[in-house]
Assembly symmetry: C2
Homo-oligomer: 198 residues x 2
């Protein structure tokens, strides 16, 4: 069995990357990586689905033991991507999607050189602004901060393998699915050529 | 004016990468990088077209002055890619294609992180073998050596951004042209989004 492939999905908040990723929840050949956090579990959340929950001591031990693909601390809480599950899924031929911000993305890419990086952008920044306003989760101050972050992230987007303009959700999901399938074809093609030589 | 983009083209000898590259000689927006070498100029060769010719001392000075994007020594002769011309073309909005073996390709990628890497493969290794036999330039021993090198290079192909199967020359040229155009679109898209924020 061929190893699965790793896909890193980033993009400004409000670009719709979470919604796109969630469309792969029912695909047997795709696993959406679940982060580990030290923040408290909220009532509606489910261990292993929304997050894996750990203590600060537990998380710091994971870091020391090299068990995190990447991690960051926001306020008092740690967030990060556990390495063992990602590796296990890949070894079982399952593709893994990491939805992750740009800095973490490059940390993962450094360790997993063959990861495919996908950047989701809105059709326009004006539309992004409107989407953030419409969903009404953040204050104007918070939205402006997110737009500033988006600007910094966009400058790194050129280093991503694919840019998907999220104009229409269904099309965007299809584009990401195509990227996953093309990658598999590419891996199979190279394996076949190498096998011919063995 | 937007900066041009850099494309690195590699692939086993006999896969047809040279022939594909030569199809871009007449395209105004593409420059095929010309290597510098210390080997003697042959009669039919033209300075600045087949190679730039330099002395060993001259070449070693270029290396010391950081003027080579990558270089290698085969036998007694140096070969390498001059940095200044590549930079000049890119700054003038011209796309640059480097036809280069795998090791050199990664050296360039390290320095020019946004380079797009394209790997040309034959439809099958059997066909590659046949092509090398047909062109009759190398002995069987030399061909077997090239096939061994090809095997090692194929293992690195997964780290390239694009794999082009060179089944039909015209199609392959079109595929490379598409990769160049898509890259431009990607760069323009990101520039537009960043501009919106400025």
């Amino acid at each position: 069995m061929n190893r699965g492939n790793l896909f890193i999905i980033s993009g400004p908040s409000g670009a719709g990357k979470g919604t796109i990723c969630n469309h792969f929840l029912n695909d047997d050949d795709v696993y959406l990586s679940v982060s580990v956090t030290t923040r408290n579990k909220r009532n509606e959340e489910i261990e292993g689905v929304t997050y894996f929950y750990d203590t600060v001591e537990g998380f710091e031990r994971r870091i020391q033991d090299g068990k995190m693909l990447e991690w960051a601390k926001y306020g008092d809480n740690y967030y990060g991507t556990p390495k063992d599950i990602v590796e296990e899924k890949l070894n079982n031929g399952i593709n893994v999607i990491l939805e992750i911000e740009v800095q973490g993305a490059f940390k993962v890419k450094e360790q997993m050189n063959d990861a495919v990086m996908i950047f989701i952008v809105p059709p326009s920044m004006k539309e992004l602004y409107q989407r953030l306003l419409d969903r009404g989760r953040e204050s104007i101050g918070e939205i402006n901060k997110r737009i500033d972050i988006a600007k910094g992230e966009l400058k790194k987007a050129i280093y991503y393998d694919h840019i998907v303009v999220n104009d229409n959700l269904k099309d965007s999901v299809k584009k990401v699915r195509n990227i996953i399938d093309e990658r598999k074809e590419k891996t199979n093609l190279i394996s076949r050529l190498i096998e011919e030589l063995e």
